[in-house]
């Protein structure tokens, strides 16, 4: 690793000279601002930073970052980003994607980049809708979503991105919200620190085609009761006064909401978050209203073997056992004869 050359940069140094072209009021603005704010704190020089995206509103993101950036093909950013890492593992690679890009047309690549555990950060902007193609329902849209392609409402089950990521073998799975600038910054910072593929689902409001779809847990007046902000080693408590908690009900093999001090529940019943516990992460990822709060924060973080470094380590091992690369010698290997 080279020593960082320039880390005196400020958030505005990460803004490119391009005019931002998202719709006024789009949640993407807040995400862009949060990322530009966190970047200078990560200790990576701008020139070693690469943003790779697919297609969709979120995938315009790289154009607005004053780093290296590659706006590619619908769904293929994880594959292209993998190639970038294979070529140069020293680069700090970010994949920017959306629910359609990353989980529909690019679902296969998402699965494999997480399974391989390539050292990069995936930021998936989930707005439960196709924005850039003008409002069709997406694989994360709730059943009954009315859209130009489903005028009577969608009838297919939505995908839960974090559940998918855990199932694919992701070793870092986290969630945040577009407008929670500080929380988003913390989560993104954690994702960056994680060696391996980090998957961050960001609830992002599309105020044109799917406005307020997350309001039921993000609105200020309900957030305390409908979100649980998870923190490693801390009890899973929520509510305006932290009066509620999550307990594991062994009979139902499920999480449930309790209020310590009521109905025989005690503080000791409240689960303590352990981000290394994949089973707990799966339960947290699956929680949704109305009976359970939505979990925000680092649901799972359990570093494991990373693909590109493993691949290079294996190359070095092999190289140690072989003669120096000599193509002329290879061509002359095996049976030869002289005329």
């Amino acid at each position: 690793m080279n020593a960082p050359a320039r880390i005196e940069v400020k958030p505005k140094d990460y803004a490119s000279d391009q005019e931002v072209r998202w719709c006024p009021g789009c949640g993407d603005y807040a995400i862009l601002k949060a990322i530009q704010k966190v970047m200078p704190t990560l200790g990576v020089p701008r020139e070693r930073t690469v943003f790779v995206s697919g297609i969709g509103c979120s995938s315009r993101f790289p154009y607005y970052m004053n780093t290296y950036g590659f706006h590619t093909i619908h769904g293929r950013a994880p594959a292209i980003a993998t190639g970038v890492k294979l070529a140069n593992p020293e680069l700090d690679v970010w994949v920017i994607t959306g629910d359609g890009d990353g989980l529909s047309i690019g679902g296969n690549h998402m699965l494999h980049v997480l399974r391989r555990n390539v050292d990069l950060q995936v930021l998936l902007f989930n707005n439960e809708i196709y924005g850039l193609t003008k409002g069709q329902y997406s694989p994360t849209s709730q059943i009954g979503s009315g859209s130009p392609s489903t005028p009577e409402g969608s009838v297919d089950n939505p995908l839960a991105p974090c559940t998918f990521a855990l199932g694919a073998g992701a070793r870092f799975v986290a969630r945040s919200i577009d407008t929670s600038v500080n929380h988003l910054g913390e989560v993104v910072s954690r994702a960056h620190a994680h060696k391996g593929a980090s998957f961050v689902e960001i609830f992002q409001n599309c105020n044109v085609y799917n406005d307020q779809v997350f309001a039921y847990f993000t609105e200020r007046n309900v957030a305390a009761d409908r979100q649980v902000v998870v923190c490693h080693g801390e009890p899973l408590r929520f509510g305006a006064e932290g009066e509620k908690g999550l307990r594991f009900n062994l009979e139902r093999f499920a999480l449930e909401v309790i209020e310590p001090g009521k109905n025989g529940a005690t503080d000791a019943d409240v689960l303590v978050h352990d981000e290394r516990n994949q089973g707990l992460a799966a339960l947290l990822a699956a929680m949704k209203g109305p009976d359970l709060p939505v979990a925000i924060g680092v649901l799972y973080c359990a570093p494991g073997p990373e693909y590109v470094s493993g691949l290079y380590a294996q190359r070095e091992q092999v190289q140690a056992t072989r003669a120096a690369p000599d193509l002329d010698a290879v061509l002359r290997g095996g049976h030869t004869w002289t005329v």
Binding site: A5, R6, S16, Q18, P45, R46, E47, R48, T49, V50, V52, I55, P62, Y63, M65, N66, T67, Y68, G69, F70, H71, T72, I73, R76, P78, A79, I80, A81, T82, G83, V84, L86, A87, N88, E90, L91, N108, H109, L111, H112, L311, Q314, R315, V318, Q319, R322, A323, A324, P325, L327, D328, V330, L331, R332, G334, H335, T336, W337, T338, V339
Partner: protein
Amino acid sequence: MAAVKAQAAGRPEAHGVVIRFAGDSGDGMQLTGGQFTEATAMHGNDLATFPDFPAEIRAPTGTTFGVSAFQINFASYEVSTAGDELDVLVAMNPAALKTNLNDLRSNGLLILDSGAFTGRNLKKAGYGASPIEDGSLSGYQCLEIDVHKHVLDAVAAFDLGHKNALRCKNMWVLGLLMWLYGRDRAPTIEGLEEKFASRATIRDANIAALNAGHAFGETAELPPAFPAVEVPPASTAPGLYRNVTGTEAMAWGIAAAGQLSGLKTVFASYPITPASALLHALAGMKQFDVVTFQAEDEIAAAGAALGASYAGSLGVTSSAGPGISLKAETISLACSVELPLLIVNTQRGGPSTGLPTKTEQSDLYQAVFGRHADTPLVVLAPCTPSDCFDAAIEAARIATRYMTPVMVLSDGYLANAAEPWQIPSIADYDGFKVTFHAERDGFHPSLRDEETLARVWVKPGTDGLEHRIGGIEKSYDTGDISYEPANHQRMTDVRAEKIERVRQVIPPLDVALGEKQGCLAVLGWGSTFGAIHQAVKRARDDGQSVSHIHLRHLWPLPGNLGELLRGFEHVLIPEMNKGQLLRLIRSEYLIDAKGLNKVAGQPFKIVEIECGIRDALANARGDNE
């Protein structure tokens, strides 16, 4: 090793022989053929081979669709195809006889393992009566040997058990053929010692079977129809030689391209027949700066290769026709963002799954035209197995010089076939070291080289040149997103003009054989070189005004091709498709060329092209009357 040295003295001479080994997929025919090829190359003959095997990995034994064959043509003269008719057919069972007998010349030598001609095997092959007994083989010199019995005797000492003992059949037959043609067994024995280094019993049994087959030839007093013959060495240019398959040559060419360009190579691929062998070959070369990646699908393989090129490596992806279709969108992105990308297409019989283990040239349209929008790129085709080495190097040279995808059209025949190769030295090749753009003054990502029109290549990590590229149209002047109508016209034009300028590095095309003008030009591309060359040679020996022209550069076409073709009254285009180059030539040059088309999953025979030439010349005479 004196005991196993070839014994040439006193044998009658033959000048060229075509042998085909045919048996069950599990009979080891490819190994047998490969070993015979090795020994033949060492003997100094010129040769060409044609491995032909089924798509099924272990087809049910004894069935006709499970027959695997290996053909070799070797001679004391220049050989350029695996041969038309067989002089010798080795049939290890009735199914192999049934599927291959048609190719044996009349009075040719037929060697049968009579031990395999059981009622059950005959039935599986669809024979009512045994062809050995019903007189249907009377047109051939038939030698029936109970190889089963001989092998079991030869390896009895090793206690292998019946089934494993019989697996040595192929070595026994190889030993016999080596005796017949005076081949040296030493390289085969060395090969067996290496292959079975950790299994001494299997090694010794195979060597014993090989020697027993050889001894059988020496002692069995074969009928006069089976003389042991000597095929003297061919007179070839002095130098150091080896055998090489197209796959090996392509793999080494890719590694050489990395060295000559000074770039790390990232080779990303997804398993597909017959292209997978290239991934295997490069995965075994980890001492070189070639990183191999088995992607989750064809699209990801192309994407990873392009991502690697973006990051400053030489990105290479590889597949066969169906996989190339999946990569098409990524190749268009490479055209749009103007990054180098090598795409190796080992064509196979299509469409769809088609004939995965058989050969065809039917992806020319796909290579030249098969993408959305105006996305011209460079298409090259090697013409022999060893030529794959040079083609890979040239493809990388053009891709990095012009910042463009380059597709190399190999095929199943080239990939698997072997030929002797005068081994080059890497030092003989001009390097093409890539220098990445690092100048900050006046930089923008659409900057171009004035001569080549190549876009600048900046390696991410370069301080001060942070920039964005992408699939949205880019301003010619700044590289920023631009939806300006005039700019899109200009960018589309400049991307096309850049590919036109690749002609600057394509040498003028010359005839491969014959005069530069005359009655008939036979124009070919890719792996049909050998068959066309021999057919033209024969027609010329017959006094006909025929020349052979062969294309390596399929897009852009060589600058002088139109002029060259206009030197001939008629143009005949043989290709293993329904006329793809034909249409390209007709549309580019408005020349009334005629096609000679074969899509049987098999390479052209020389005689098929000879007939095509004869017909074309007859028609030409008709035209003139």
